[in-house]
């Protein structure tokens, strides 16, 4: 904090003149917004393990894509959406079945490792897939990200009313004619897309942080749906922006900064909420 504010702003200006920093901020923002919105439903539906698993299953898609000469983003997208739809079809029971998800995800990681070995010379890129490579996002990827997040966000807002009802009171929703399985399939497909986009920013291993982090923190203290959703988006954006800028300043990876910021926020919220809930 020894720098004067003026020089700091100048420095931010300087970093923003780079294309790769601007691209990182755009892709990061899109992933943060989608992750925060989808994550809100992941948290109230308690489907965080399923979200985690989708990311790891995506690893198989990304490594397999290299083997079949497709881009990692496309490969990951196809495999995780497919897995998401299958999980959604199997319904709530599977989404909450730790064992079924755990077995599937470890099997997928195993297959992913096989793909890595079969495709020699890919190992270097595996690090990028696992830990994220936000500064390597291309123009084409930005367009893809924009397109995918606009569609996903549109769909999720279109079904958000039903999704909230189903998440809060599934049996009553069923009685009122809401199709639990159709919603579950739609939700898991969109979750798969968000997981893929978020993994561009923080990588597969840390995808959890953009999906669960902001929403998990927001639901801890926000007392209704709208305040929770907007707080979640704000936290996600702040974490991604400051993470990327801190990475510029320090040359430490953005994934480290984003996860650290969210972890510290989580610890603070948890401590404050425990105290506040005890007062209630």
């Amino acid at each position: 904090m020894s720098r004067k504010p003026r020089t700091m702003i100048e420095q931010i200006h300087y970093y923003l003149s780079y294309d790769f920093v601007r691209n990182a901020l755009i892709a990061g923002s899109l992933a943060a917004i989608l992750g925060a919105v989808v994550g809100y439903f992941v948290v109230i539906r308690k489907a965080s393990f399923a979200a985690h698993a989708l990311a790891h299953i995506g690893f198989t898609g990304a490594t397999g894509a290299a083997l079949f000469a497709v881009s990692p983003l496309e490969g990951m997208l196809v495999i995780s959406v497919l897995a998401g739809v299958i999980m959604g079809t199997a319904g709530n029971r599977l989404q909450r079945s730790d064992l079924a998800i755990g077995m599937t995800l470890s099997f997928c990681l195993g297959v992913g490792t096989l793909f890595l070995i079969l495709y020699k010379g890919f190992a270097g890129q595996a690090t990028a897939i696992l830990f994220g490579n936000i500064f390597g996002v291309s123009h084409l990827q930005i367009v893809q990200t924009l397109f995918l997040s606009a569609i996903s966000l549109g769909i999720i807002l279109l079904v958000s009313r039903k999704l909230l009802f189903v998440s809060v009171q599934p049996n009553l929703a069923e009685a009122r004619g809401v199709s639990l399985s159709a919603l579950s399939i739609v939700f898991m497909a969109i979750l798969a897309i968000s997981v893929t986009l978020a993994s561009q920013v923080v990588g597969i291993l840390l995808v959890f942080t953009l999906i669960i982090g902001p929403a998990g923190i927001a639901t801890r203290f926000c007392r209704n749906f709208w305040s929770g959703l907007t707080t979640s988006v704000v936290i996600g954006l702040m974490a991604v922006w400051s993470g990327i800028l801190l990475a510029c300043f320090t040359s430490w990876p953005p994934s480290f900064w984003i996860t650290t910021i969210l972890f510290v926020l989580y610890l603070i919220t948890e401590t404050v909420c425990r105290f506040a809930f005890r007062m209630e």
């Binding site: 109230i44 009313r161 998440s167 009171q169 009553l172 069923e174 209704n224 749906f225 809930f277």
Partner: protein, 260 residues
């Protein structure tokens, strides 16, 4: 209001209930009893049209099951757990109001008024702005009751609203539902494990056991003769101190011992 004619329900090729007959008039308060796994919830799901009948018919408000569900309020046995979230009781009732529509969960002024109406009716006002996850079991059940009351239902299906409540909260819940019955005139199907908390308020009884169901006045149905026939085993109904006790002659023949 509700006519069940020779209805049978099967789940996965297994007969759960058969030959169920009941004719329920508008405004009746019916207690539904029976041992665990006897098919009480299954029968209610049949009435809601959530599972198909394998024989007979059910008519709800003159319609086949499932058609008139907007006029049925349903308090399911299981709730989504929202541990760790700060969502308030009021926001959870709002989430259910109009929850079967497309779009985003914005509530109109009329919808918000409806939320306030059921919150008052279910007696939730006092803790409507507290996080749902910190409420007691009884308070959570009241919130579920408020959700079931949305849309001014003419039939209320309450699946074990007394489960895991202490005797005092059981009494309060029953009083609250009896009050709702008089103010709204709704017909009530109330599933419970124990007959006693409902003795003063229910008009008739459905007892489900051994794959069959009997309907009638409390004295006719909760009798040694009727229950022994349903269970296919010797059951004694003992009345003492204004309470009813159901005892199996041989200790573990049935689950009737649950009713102690």
């Amino acid at each position: 209001m509700l006519a069940i004619t020779d209805a049978g329900v099967c789940l996965g090729g297994c007969d759960i209930l058969q030959g169920v007959n009941a004719e329920i008039a508008p405004g009746e308060f019916i207690g539904v009893f029976g041992p665990n796994g006897a098919g009480k919830s299954t029968l209610m799901r049949g009435i809601l049209g959530l599972i198909p009948l394998c024989s007979g018919t059910i008519s709800v408000l003159g319609e086949p099951p499932g058609r008139a569900n907007s006029l049925i309020g349903y308090l399911p046995q299981s709730r989504a757990s929202l541990t760790g979230t700060a969502l308030t009781a009021r926001s959870l009732v709002s989430a259910v109001e109009g929850g079967n529509r497309w779009g985003m969960p914005w509530n109109s002024r009329a919808a918000r008024a409806e939320v306030e109406r059921v919150i008052a009716l279910a007696g939730v006002e006092e803790y409507a702005d507290r996080p749902f996850s910190v409420l007691s079991g009884g308070e959570k059940q009241r919130v579920a009751l408020a959700q079931a009351l949305l849309g001014q239902p003419r039939l209320l299906i309450l699946d074990e609203p007394l489960a895991s409540l202490d005797p005092r909260n059981q009494m309060r819940m029953v009083e609250c539902i009896a009050k709702i019955k008089t103010t709204t005139g709704a017909t009530i199907l109330f599933i419970a494990h124990d007959v006693n908390p409902l003795l003063g308020v229910m008009d008739r009884v459905i007892y489900v056991a051994g794959g069959r169901a009997a309907i009638g006045s409390t004295n006719d149905v909760i009798s040694s003769a009727t229950l022994s026939k349903l269970y296919g085993a010797e059951i004694h109904v003992v009345r003492a101190e204004g309470k009813i006790f159901i005892v199996a002659a041989e200790g573990n023949v049935t689950e009737a011992a649950h009713h102690d």
